[in-house]
Symmetry: C2
Subunit: 411 residues, 2 copies
């Protein structure tokens, strides 16, 4: 299986402010054509360190991708170091220079002399057009080894990777793609999910199973390679089936859809629409629902009712119920769900009331207590949940569980 | 100035699924005590690669932090490789073994034999207590060099770094802290901000100026070190003053506050409260306002009015105005602001209507067109904005500009 290393260049990547995200994108696309990543380097604008990285990478693998350090300033050392390590002369390329002059002319500006540094390329390099920025990418070969220089800004790097690099690499190495399945779960904690499926995936040692947990959501990623295992596809199918069987309705997507997308699909299937009333989530649920293009088809709208008065005025919650049960109660969650449904004239209504903290909790009703109410033409019910975590996490968990409650009510 | 390298260990960090975030946290805390990071490595669970990294790091710097690979499985190679590179025997530590047994006993489980691997430590290592997980950290010294082994999960790593590592490193190296100032701007594009301040910060070559742009927000980070420049503090003061002077009311915080925090402070100062009516942002604005603990003091609530009917029913927008001007218009934005203020009985009202896309645009009213209306006891006005980008970006820009409009109206 072909193996690669990725070197990210730039002193800003060694501060607490910026991290290298390019390598994740690059890794996904390399994996797609069956190339693994063996090591990643993050180095600053220091020639000696980059030189060491490039020499060692070239000693150990045949595919090396460098991002960053192709700009027009003294600090941009990647071209220089590559030419030095590969023992190639840096040559002035008139084509690049002309393109730079044109680009600046279009912007009505004079090309600064220093920018011509970008026209210096190691001898034998193939220029890779950069439609977005000034720095062209470079493709270098040294025997079997391919060394690729790409600019650092993701919006320049990504299209160049797609257009120039992936096709060339897949022609040169033709690995089997790494196959991937993603099973998404809600309404089950990570430990419980793992307990149910560990005995299953342990029976498939050639499939790599990774469990990723985010608030209120578990993703089971299955990856396998035909190079290592000719049965990869069949094994993935079998493992996925067994996992789905074990987890039943905890599975909300096997097609990499988000929970809000799935909720939208279900609402569409029922030809219904939804309105939501939020207290502690403060708009987060409505925001997630409307993240989906076309959500206006099934989302009527929402009310963020933070105060008791707003719950009474905007949603018709009975003041006596708030007095007797408290604003954070099953009865209020249900009245919010019912109220928002009636006010918006929608098919379904959902209400969330809870204590996100950090203050506002009591012994009786601690921070993290959340009630979620559901209302449709015939039913109105609610669930009590107790979350732990900080304000942000409690709000995320409440919104995620509300979406899952919508899903479960529409199944 | 003391220099360090960070090595992150774990094959999952070489997939498209997970990135090393520990090093950002570590870098910030190292910088705080005057230690720079020179290089970062990300390696898998492959002993030869980790060995090479550790050898090279030890050759080039005196401070090396490794995260990950301290778990109980065969794959967890960090202890073994460290003992090998440092030429120290791995010794069975009864104290760790006992702690592991206690921990499992508390959970009512038997300690698996394999977990005792975690009790093997290189000779001479100082054990660092891990209150959250099973793997203790290790502190190793080799002459002047300090080699630190920390577990990978951030919630285990971070408290151990704080409790054990930062105090020890700052005692051993006593660098001057890297000083930092953060100036946050809204309502100005990155290029315009840079044009205004570049002539200023170029006059302070010993201060490192970094400009970070997120949607609708620019952060100017100034960093300097007393070790390099004894005048660092004074220069930072001067540069910050000059930048603030140049950017005037575009500056919304010099104390690392978010725009929603600043808006909350302003609302509190005016003893007023706010209600918001959102169309295209779909709850994002209310969500950001309520991210702030205590926002119930100044946030009355909101309405997400996605459909025309909701704008009419829930906000009292005049159907004739929608007919004549369209739902995305200055008149509707103003009526939404006015309507939500009256319905919630709040001091201030804000309305957003726009086209987030990807569909719904026309030649007249393209995707990205957004009107934001403002209403208080005496005024009602609106602003027209044209954003470009995808749905997510347009929504972010709309919410950010709405917050900035609130700020500007309350100055």
């Amino acid at each position: 299986m072909p193996i690669s290393e990725i070197i990210a260049v730039g002193s800003e990547l060694l501060t607490p402010l910026r991290s290298d995200t390019n390598s994740l994108y690059i890794t996904r696309r390399l994996n797609d054509i069956g190339i693994l990543v063996r090591r990643k380097w993050i180095v600053g604008d220091e020639a000696a360190v980059l030189e060491e990285a490039l020499r060692l990478a070239m000693r150990s693998v045949n595919i090396i991708l460098l991002t960053g350090g192709l700009g027009p300033t003294e600090d941009d050392i990647t071209r220089k170091v590559a030419s030095y390590v590969l023992e190639r002369q840096l040559i002035y390329n008139e084509e690049i220079a002309q393109r730079l002059r044109d680009r600046f002319a279009r912007l009505g500006r004079e090309l600064p002399e220093s920018n011509l540094r970008q026209a210096l390329v190691p001898m034998g390099a193939i220029l890779l057009d950069n439609p977005v920025g000034t720095a062209p990418g470079l493709w270098l070969e040294e025997g079997k080894k391919k060394i690729v220089l790409l600019p650092g800004p993701p919006r320049e790097m990504q299209p160049m990777l797609e257009t120039h690099i992936i096709p060339r690499l897949s022609a040169a190495f033709r690995g089997e793609p790494i196959l991937r399945r993603i099973i998404k779960l809600a309404g089950i904690p990570e430990s419980a999910a793992d307990e149910r499926i560990a005995p299953i995936y342990k029976g498939f040692p050639k499939v790599q199973t990774t469990i990723l947990a985010t608030p209120g959501q578990i993703e089971v990623h299955l990856t396998a390679s035909k190079t290592v295992n000719p049965q990869a596809e069949t094994e993935l199918d079998q493992l996925q089936d067994k996992i789905e069987e074990a987890l039943q309705d905890k599975v909300f997507s096997v097609e990499d859809k988000s929970l809000e997308e799935v909720v939208g699909i279900f609402l569409g299937m029922h030809q219904g629409n939804l309105a939501v009333a939020e207290s502690c989530t403060g708009g987060l649920l409505a925001k997630r629902i409307t993240d989906i293009p076309g959500s206006s088809q099934y989302f009527a709208g929402g009310v963020v009712a933070y105060s008791n008065q707003a719950k009474i005025d905007m949603l018709g919650v009975d003041p006596a119920v708030i007095r007797n049960h408290g604003a954070v109660s099953a009865a209020v969650a249900e009245q919010m769900a019912e109220g928002v449904r009636l006010r918006f004239g929608s098919t379904y209504g959902l209400g969330i009331t809870g204590i996100a903290g950090p203050s506002g909790g009591s012994e009786d009703k601690p921070v993290g207590l959340v009630y979620i109410g559901w209302s449709d033409m015939v039913h109105c019910h609610s669930r009590r949940m107790q979350f732990s975590g900080d304000r942000d996490l409690i709000r995320q968990l409440a919104a995620q569980n509300a979406l899952n409650m919508i899903r479960c009510n529409l199944v």
